[in-house]
Amino acid sequence: MIGRVQLPSPRPASGSVLRIPSLDRRQILKSGLALGAGLVMGLRLAPRAAAAEAAAGEGLNAFVRIAPDGTVTVLSKHIEFGQGTYTGLATVLAEELDADWSAVRVEAAPADAQRYANLFFGIQGTGGSTAMANSWGQMRTAGATARAMLVAAAAAEWEVDASEITVAAGIVRHAGSGREAGFGPLAERAAGIEPPAEVALKDPSEFTLIGREDLPRVDVPAKSRGEASFTFDFSVPEMLTAVVAHPPRFGAKVASFDDAAARKVPGVVQVVAVPQGVAVLAEGFWAARQGREALSVEWDESGAETRGSAEILAGFRQKTRQPGAEVRKDGDPEGALAGAAKVLEAEYEFPFLAHAPMEPLGCVVRVGDGEAEAWAGSQLQTVDQGTIAAILGLDPSKVRLHTLLAGGSFGRRATPTADIAAEAAAVAKAAGTARPVKLVWTREDDIRGGYYRPPYVHRLRAGLDAEGRLVAWHQRIVGPSIVTGTPFEAALVQNGIDSTSVEGASTLPYAIANLGVDLHTEPVGVPLLWWRSVGHTHTAYSTETFLDDIAREAGQDPVELRRALLAEHPRHLGVLELAAGKAGWGSPLPEGRTRGVAVHESFSSFVAQVVEVSVGKGGMPKVHRVVCAVDCGIAINPDNIRAQMEGGIGFGLGAALHDEILLEEGRVRESNFHDYRSLRIHEMPEVEVHIVASAEPPTGVGEPGVPPIAPAVANAWATLTGESVRRLPFRRALQERS
């Protein structure tokens, strides 16, 4: 396992199969509705609401509860960390329930792999932009089933035929008798009714909430008023705060430590060794941090990664000359390259990247007698729960895990090692205290703590014939595997190919007769992780900028070339045409400004972006405007889709312009936002988002906005300056040039 923490691999609950969408994603998506319908019986498995829950209403199934005052509480099996899932899931359920939107609330569902599995994963968890796609059928069915139970309750109460009852905006009516009631008075009776085995779902033409422009997010008022509570804000009585001194190099361990000075810091309660380092437990954050400052730790670095980024990347570059494991081969790419009139070649380098969510990482654990309770912004609940249980020697059913709102994640809270939950449990165990423990990471812990987007080197070659037509394409990718050695390996690594290393390259949509992709998997001793849009973060960049190089060489317009090569891909073509049209592709621009385009599919959503760029301060690109077109199937919450595209663009742009994690002799150079900079408001372009009307089942929007932005900017930059940027971030590429 790549990572500092060696733990027994947590496995999903007995009998379930860990299934992550990968190559068979489309098939899974197509069966989404069937999966949902199949769950009608599954919903019945929900136990009657526990006493505490009953106070807040009657559970009609695992996903909805209705209170006597008519409040509809939707239980979200997915974490909300900004992507809008709470609102999205509630919209879908409330649509089929015919609820009054103003009465809808959302709560995190408890950790429970049986009731609340991600239907694409087989365990509970959020990632791969799957929340809406996997829940679409399930939440519709849950809403429709609850509606049918309310109707049956009303029919029984009013002694009328259920088929004569209508429901709209939270009111149940029987026109014949003139009777009507809100959901509240009917809820208790409805909860006792056997759910129907089958329910009819609405025709999309009947939707009143799905697709509505003015449906507000459920979490916005609290988040605008400082009232939303995150893990950092969470507390329980008698709670201690813990920080951990981590080794300066990945793979190092504690050799010895002197805690005499740390223990003298007022407020410090305990200092304990844990597998991850040395933990200081104190009455509050500041005392814990001061205690850690006062610690003296000797590290055993014999097993540590001591290479720097430069050495790691140099090793990768050497591999670009040797054939790798075959990922895709259409036609005869090598033969066609050998016979080409003109061959283009380019090599790309991508750095380590940290996720740096605004809320640093944390987890609260309370160890009781034969049981435990934990609170965290948990993204892979089943893995976190199983890991805490394994460390504490408990059955997972004895660990109650509460999912809290998280201040961003971008993938960081979804670790196959459950690193934060594991560290919190290890600290609580080592301390042996009955007091609850809140583990918190500082920003320095976060930036230097690993679980990075891995570095990669790509080598691309293209062959043009005498007429300038693209006849051959070969892409070689060199880099580490994110998932090898994790519970996700079986699902995501096939024939030695980690699909997360090549996605976007292996799925290149362009009509090229001779197309090859191969891969060298090169381990590094640094914990690695998916980072918002995963493999697409680098494959979209190399493929989309290389295609522009080809267009320039062939004297073709970049949009024209893509249009010609995408004839068989209507959804790619749809977003390309929409973005190009709305951006006025080809129309005059102010002096010193150029346009660039990129189109990319990720997580079954299609996004094209056209940017306008000039040379800004310090010779860096200044991005003025981004026109973005997205096709994510049925648009559940259009305003949230726009927000996610805006956010993905800003997130991707910040990393492309400024950010890298640089290892120097195995030590991380960056430590906080002064040197891991992030995009700031004055660098944020105007963003205009256009959504393709679609009747396809909904797909994700959390990640797909990210991949096209960096290559679109690079393409505009190349047109503007004649310079192809092949190393990210721009800041480094442009510094090294000058």
């Binding site: 008023r225 500041w286 605004m358 920003r443 700031r680």
Partner: protein
């Protein structure tokens, strides 16, 4: 040591070690968790509070240096500017994860309290120290303009 500070219009007496940042006194001693920890080094703005109406980074301000200045946190906001900003934030649907938004709102209120018609450059200048990793920046700009419009009586 004993410290006396004025927070949200109330005089609070409390015990704190010298050098403890105001942020942790607010969050842990007074339970005012609306003010967030993001970086600890005055780089991200999540911990922004007002001292006598001016925005400061509470994560690097030792509590004993507050003196008799009035501390206002997001929990203690009132007045027409605060109302306009909160209303505009909801109308434009600014937050995503929401973690930085207290700081964004506090900085915006301080800006609009001294400049009721900021242009984009003024907005960018005032908010350049507030990081949003979700990049809600376009909506923050719109919401600041929206709040400015409300204060002029143009809307709401």
């Amino acid at each position: 040591m004993k410290v006396t500070i004025d927070v949200n219009g109330e005089t609070r007496e409390l015990e704190a070690e010298a050098g403890t940042p105001l942020l942790w006194v607010l969050r842990e001693s007074l339970g005012l968790t609306g003010t967030k920890f993001g970086c600890g080094v005055a780089q991200c703005g999540a911990c922004t509070v007002h001292l006598d109406g001016r925005p400061v980074r509470s994560c690097v301000m030792p509590v004993e240096s507050v003196g008799d200045r009035r501390v206002t946190t997001i929990e203690g906001l009132s007045g027409d500017v605060a109302d306009a900003v909160r209303t505009s934030w909801e109308e434009i649907q600014v937050p995503q994860c929401g973690y930085c938004q207290s700081g964004q709102v506090m900085t915006t209120i301080a800006l609009l309290s001294r400049d009721r018609s900021p242009d984009d450059d003024a907005i960018d200048g005032a908010l350049a120290g507030n990081i949003c990793r979700c990049a809600t920046y376009p909506r923050i700009r719109r919401a600041v303009h929206g709040a400015a419009g409300r204060l002029k009586g143009g809307r709401g």
